[in-house]
Subunit: 202 residues, 2 copies
DNA sequence: GACTGTGAAGCCATTCACAGCT
DNA sequence: AGCTGTGAATGGCTTCACAGTC
């Protein structure tokens, strides 16, 4: 979603001390057209001043609110393998308001380990933690075989949105928002484009 | 890209012993419409048989070739931190033909460590390895501050496509294909949708 | 003069619906 | 009858261009 990209750019501009910014600058910094930026923003309200531009601080506030980032999001992570632990320590999440309140694993092996300030718990405590912190977001980093089960369990425990890193599409009721991150897929888009390029040179 | 998704599904169907498959089945398994599937495939050639469907094995072969996955892709990875090492050990890459031939780090600390069969090398050897294996793909998992530099260095060494995991957009010449994977961004799409949902219920 | 907000036009991707093959 | 390949229709997103505001 482009709004999230704008927000990143605005955050950066704010830190650089920029007070007012035009749709043109935002466009340049995020790789879209000025008209696009204006349309996107105007859809949610009139945030700018004609002849002047947008107030960076103010606009970012609006965008964050639209993105639902005006408050913290407690999050659980299932799968304390290599990828899971990398994500558990990923500072980017915290910076954008995502607080991992529980890391879980089916395996008893990683249970008890600590990643940052939180400990890996057995999945048996999943429902308890979700309910205690009123968690709505879950991250899945378990092996393919366990992904569907974990997804269902999260849905059953009241999770509303899932970010799935296992290389398997999971099927859940339509009211659960699922996003799928497949690393190989990203690389395949690259090779597809590389292959096309060679092709077009013939 | 949808073709990559189809390929995943076909791979799976092949393993289940399916010989012939219809656009409808592919559509169902990948969450698109049958017409979409046919349009996508027909664009590259006539792979199916009217009245019958597509031969799974044959079609997957075509799709893999279109995706440029009919041969191995040597790949380098820069940044041997938590995420880098998780990716270095990610089996999914190998399964799709991506062979990591070098892991690099600016820091001398992780240099010498082994991830799977390969050793972490100092960045000073980056150009040498890229040239030796004729590498075209690079993966960046370094901290924000170093991302742009590493990108330029990869581009300078002849890399043609980059998968960037640092939460910073990097600017490179237009002929370098860059894809950006930002984990927080994915979560933000989830919160945006969650926020919208609550909104629409009012 | 600079820059936003927005109706209208243009463009591209998706879907429809059917002819054509097996 | 079953299913693909594809022109035509549709719908949605993007760009244009300009009126409105500072």
């Amino acid at each position: 979603m482009r709004l999230a990209v704008y927000s990143r750019f605005l955050e950066n501009a704010k830190q650089r001390g920029v007070v007012t910014i035009s749709s043109g600058s935002i466009a340049e910094g995020t790789g879209v057209t000025p008209a696009q930026v204006r349309k996107d923003l105007a859809y949610f309200g009139e945030f700018g001043t004609r002849g002047v531009g947008y107030n960076v601080r103010e606009l970012n506030g609006h965008v964050l609110r639209i993105l639902g980032l005006n408050h913290k999001w407690p999050t659980v992570l299932v799968g304390a393998g290599k990828l899971g632990s990398a994500l558990a320590l990923y500072e980017g999440f915290l910076a954008r308001g995502f607080h991992i309140v529980g890391i879980f694993d089916v395996d008893t092996d990683p249970v008890g380990k600590r990643f940052g300030s939180i400990e890996v718990l057995p999945v048996s405590q999943l429902e308890e933690v979700i309910s205690k912190y009123n968690v709505q977001i879950g991250i899945i980093t378990v092996p393919v075989a366990a992904a569907q089960d974990v997804g269902e369990r999260l849905a059953g425990a009241g999770i509303k949105a899932i970010l799935n890193f296992s290389p398997k599409v999971i099927n859940l009721p339509a009211d659960i928002i699922v996003r799928h991150v497949d690393f190989s897929l990203h690389l395949e888009v690259l090779t597809f484009n590389l292959a096309r390029k060679v092709e077009s040179k013939k």
